[in-house]
Symmetry: C2
Subunit: 338 residues, 2 copies
DNA sequence: CCAGAATGTGCACACGTGTTCATATAGATG
DNA sequence: CATCTATATGAACACGTGTGCACATTCTGG
């Protein structure tokens, strides 16, 4: 042990070459498919590499025009459950596709600064999964030549690929289900207007109402607490027979308040959410909701990543995902289903 | 537009130099603090860089002995809520510390393979946040000269830094609180024995019982469903007055079953969890639990990262985190407290 | 005015890898 | 045997950057 700092030096191809008694080129070839190299020699090299813990340095390889496989995922501060679940699935999905997802998150200022700095890596793409901000981040990426994939919010910009769920159609189907079940006096708990999903889901609700108007309405923050508060506020007004919520977190908050208030679900008031987060399926809640399909989203993103790699100059496209109405007990009225 | 593939070429320092009419060295210096460079010239360079969207290539810089700031986070399949919350906080925390967290996750085989391949990057550390597996991954990392930080499970191996919560002491305090509140017939829902936290927490429970024995006991999977099933199974046995659960997810599952069964919490049966996941604080649950401090964990990890950077050859150390008993209504007995 | 320090700048090297190129050897084909 | 092809291998280059080095210029103090 000559120098303490030397101890941690990473093994290099030259080290392996020396140990195996071959040229450095041979070592490189040993790790590359489809090259001419004596089989016995290759084995000897791989063995030597294993012995001293060598692996080709991805940084140096990337410098050589090799695919970096690095991908950044920009999540906001992930306030609600759905964002967390989506981020986790996305990361593991990319992983399975051989990509290396770098997570960028935290509070607005921190995340935005990090998003800017991470561009010093030759990213294969920047994936935006933050409902609210992101348009300026996208602009910076495009300028740097880094492809952008926006999920959950459509960004109108050259070269930006978009993935979005059919918010309006989904909500329309959900509310239609409530109406078919006998609900007539519907109150709506909406999301913050800074999220593009909020007005779309509200529009879907109005679609299903036909000419009818909402009994009452207010705007929440997509959090459970705000759903709780909203339910309390709306209950004071003209007695509704259904709460339609722009996402599951708020629906679960509303459910909590209604139970505390002694309201029977769904007989007195039916409840509808949006997203189908894991918790909504738990027996304790059993919330009827509209599934925002995470697996489809992940599949679409890896697909877009692939297409972009094939043709870096291709036009940006928009992929729309279908929702699925998940009927559970929070909407199972005892009234005759028409 | 001469060639379509040329279009996406990343801007290089030489491009900036040409545009700004300076040497390439000057460009490099413009982006480095503490170098001699005419102020007016630096500004001109930065402006030119901004114009063509240039940023120093982290790959090439890393090749130069520069810190990579890359960190891998190995999470298992994140079956339970606490893992998801911890992973999210860890990622954003590292972010704020100027690190780039690469998430590695998914099913066992996929994650393990990915963990091996990610070592081709010059990682500053591999952070293990998977309760069960990980020892073999750690061995590979150490061999490659990549420092390992294990969180939630202590790995006895040279050069591995460990962070762990005081499971035993925490659980002891929690159960003592129940006993002080009048509980005498305690049933225990444990975690899978493959997680090192499971036996520790159980030991803490037994500590608090003094000579007493558990009324009943079974082993769950740290999931809500298994907690639900366990509660049903245990309720058939000699009537307990408290359920102690090895984590919050199982406690919430148990709570769900008990409510369905018409059992009053906490008057008939008190409930104790472990972790203090976000949901436990929601009014719908209001679960008494032992906080597994995520913020402290993140702080400890960044601290260890720093120390390791200062002295790469230092010995591995063990940091133990203190829990905090969070008293909520699931343990608030009407019986006189003492 | 002079010596020395402080500041500014370009050249050239090193980092670790993949790959082209030239060359050498062995095997097949006529 | 002569040619041609398939296989094997090392030398050399390129990737984009940070920085040591040598040299030029300006400033400071006597």
């Amino acid at each position: 042990m000559y120098g303490p700092s030397k101890r941690t030096r990473r093994a290099t191809a030259a080290d392996v070459a020396r140990l195996a008694g071959v040229s450095r080129s041979a070592v490189s070839r040993a790790f590359t498919k489809g090259t001419y190299l004596d089989a016995e020699k290759r084995e000897r090299i791989l063995l030597a590499a294993e012995e001293i813990g060598y692996r080709p340095n991805a940084l140096a390889a990337g410098l050589q025009g090799q695919q970096s496989n690095l991908v950044a995922i920009f999540v906001g501060d992930m306030p609600n459950q759905y964002d967390k679940e989506a981020a986790a699935s996305l990361a593991t999905g990319l992983n399975a596709a051989g990509k290396w997802p770098i997570m960028i998150g935290g509070s607005d200022a921190v995340a935005r600064a990090a998003a800017s700095r991470v561009l010093s890596f030759p990213l294969e793409a920047m994936i935006l999964r933050s409902g609210s901000l992101g348009a300026d981040v996208a602009a910076t990426c495009i300028k740097m030549g880094v492809p952008v994939i926006s999920s959950g919010r459509i960004i109108e910009q050259d070269g930006v690929d978009n993935i979005c769920v059919r918010n309006r159609e989904g909500m329309r189907e959900g509310v239609a289900h409530l109406i078919k079940g006998g609900c007539q006096r519907i109150a709506y708990i909406g999301g913050p207007s800074s999220f593009s999903s909020a007005p779309e889901r509200r529009a879907g609700c109005l679609d299903a109402l036909g000419g009818l108007e909402l009994i009452a309405e207010c705007e929440g923050l997509y959090t459970m607490e705000s759903g709780y508060d909203a339910a309390r506020a709306l209950l004071k007004e003209r007695r509704p027979d259904a709460f339609v919520c722009a996402n599951d977190a708020m629906a679960l908050g509303a459910m909590t308040y209604l139970r505390e208030a002694g309201v029977c679900i769904p007989d007195d008031i039916a409840l509808l959410g949006f997203d189908d987060i894991e918790m909504s399926g738990w027996p304790a809640f059993d919330l009827t909701t509209i599934r925002n399909p995470i697996d489809d989203m992940v599949a679409a993103i890896t697909e877009l990543l692939h297409r972009r790699a094939m043709d870096p100059a291709k036009e940006g496209e928009v992929i729309l995902l279908d929702t699925k109405l998940v009927k559970r007990s929070s909407s199972r009225r005892l009234l005759p289903d028409r």
